[in-house]
């Protein structure tokens, strides 16, 4: 074991290294985050379109009076590229989107305060979501998206921006018999904060332990709760994220 001075020396060395790594990662994230926040809002817009009075109503509730394109009947919102230029993201008309409403993909009673069924989500290459008519779900997701938009320094909230990003960001998945985690650039950061509750396509909800004991990690949709527990002050501030995509083993 190190003596006291050696221990302190080691702590300072590790801190300097960690700070240097964080600075480098933040520089990378900044360009990705801008696109992520816009896309997350886009996701929310599409999610609400089916259940909340159509694209225009949702758009107006978030962005106020719409643009010319919105007035013409197809809602748009603006995204921001990494270089700061603004572009229009066209909202897809969700009314005719076939949604797999036959199964509840997720059990939400333990998370969504009494919501006993979750709408299922179908994944296409782009944002093609349908059947989201659970207002509580929408409200919760919107609240968390807004939180993510407010902060750039909290790595828990940064993670949320990644998760919601439907396209354009590679979400790497790491699976082994111990469990599955998602990570992007900062593997250690994400492994640190995440706990998993897996949901099999057959609608089973597993505890983390059961999930970790799975011999295979099936592809499908997963719900997980992120426990921002490093800050003991906000203990219990679990967030729920929807994974848009599939988890496949490397």
């Amino acid at each position: 074991m190190k003596n006291r001075d050696e221990f302190i020396q080691s702590v300072w060395e590790k801190s300097e290294k960690a700070l240097a790594e964080e600075r480098a990662q933040k520089a990378r994230r900044r360009s990705i985050y801008k696109l992520g926040a816009a896309a997350a809002a886009c996701f929310m817009l599409l999610a609400g379109a089916a259940g909340l009075g159509g694209p225009q109503a949702v758009y107006d509730s978030i962005f106020g009076v719409g643009s010319d394109s919105a007035a013409a009947g197809s809602a748009v919102m603006e995204g921001e590229s990494a270089d700061g230029s603004v572009y229009d993201i066209e909202v897809q008309d969700m009314e005719n989107t076939a949604a797999d409403g036959s199964d509840d993909m997720f059990h939400g009673a333990d998370v969504y305060d009494g919501a006993t069924s979750m709408p299922s989500m179908a994944l296409d290459g782009a944002l093609n979501l349908g059947g989201l008519n659970d207002k509580e779900l929408y409200g919760e997701l919107q609240r968390q998206t807004e939180e993510a938009s407010k902060s750039r320094d909290d790595s828990c909230k940064d993670l949320m921006a990644y998760v919601f990003l439907p396209t354009g960001i590679e979400i790497e998945c790491y699976g082994d018999p111990d469990g599955v985690a998602m990570y992007t650039a900062d593997e250690d950061e994400i492994m640190k904060y995440m706990q998993w509750f897996g949901s099999l396509p057959e609608n089973q909800v597993l505890t983390t332990e059961e999930f970790n004991n799975l011999k295979e990690i099936p592809t499908g949709y997963y719900k997980f709760t992120m426990d921002c527990s490093v800050d003991a002050e906000t203990e219990g501030s679990d967030r729920v994220f929807w994974l848009i995509g599939e988890i496949s083993l490397p």
């Binding site: 074991m1 006291r4 590790k14 640190k192």
Partner: protein
């Protein structure tokens, strides 16, 4: 006694030496606590370093509304659990070296002040993890039930139950070893 919170505030305000006060307060108890999870002293020390690194690089995460001690032990627990999760497939089976045993005894001597507590500490190795953690936090790390609950992510009531059942389990262990334990 503010468990080092004022030292941390001074450190955040620029007094680098104040950080060493926090290390002096928590280095050994923290290593000892993390050791309960990892079973390996070197790893426990490494993870304890990482806890202090968190204090340095993320000072904004502690809001000075709860005990710094609880905060530090919570980070320690999380790091230990994550380490175990990552390395659970790597089961290192082996005997501790004489040097490690000596280090552990010395650590225990510094952290555990009385012979009775030393007996408890040794018996803890033979009870379940939840009992072990609850008893360690309450009796060896001197956390309140609420604080221990915060570290273990359990309610106060759950911690009370764990301590109660843990004590019974430890009692059984000690009685098996020939100690007469008064209830």
């Amino acid at each position: 006694m503010d468990n080092g919170a004022s030292s941390y505030r001074r450190f955040i305000d620029g007094d680098k030496s104040a950080f060493e006060e926090i290390v002096d307060l928590y280095r050994e108890p923290l290593i000892f606590f993390i050791y309960r999870y990892t079973g390996d002293l070197e790893t426990a020390e490494d993870l304890a370093e990482d806890v202090f690194v968190e204090l340095i690089i993320h000072p904004d995460r502690y809001r000075f509304r709860s005990s710094l001690k609880t905060y530090i032990f919570t980070i320690g627990r999380n790091k230990a659990v994550d380490y175990i999760r990552k390395h659970s497939r790597l089961t290192l089976v082996g005997e501790e070296s004489l040097e490690e045993l000596a280090d552990l005894e010395s650590l225990e001597d510094h952290v555990v002040r009385s012979e009775e507590m030393r007996q408890l500490s040794r018996a803890l190795g033979q009870v379940s993890e939840d009992y072990r953690m609850a008893l360690h936090l309450v009796y060896l790390a001197d956390l309140s039930y609420d604080e221990a609950g915060a570290v273990m992510k359990k309610s106060r009531k759950q911690v009370e139950n764990l301590v109660y059942r843990g004590k019974n389990a430890v009692r059984a262990v000690l009685e098996k070893e020939g100690f007469n334990i008064e209830k």
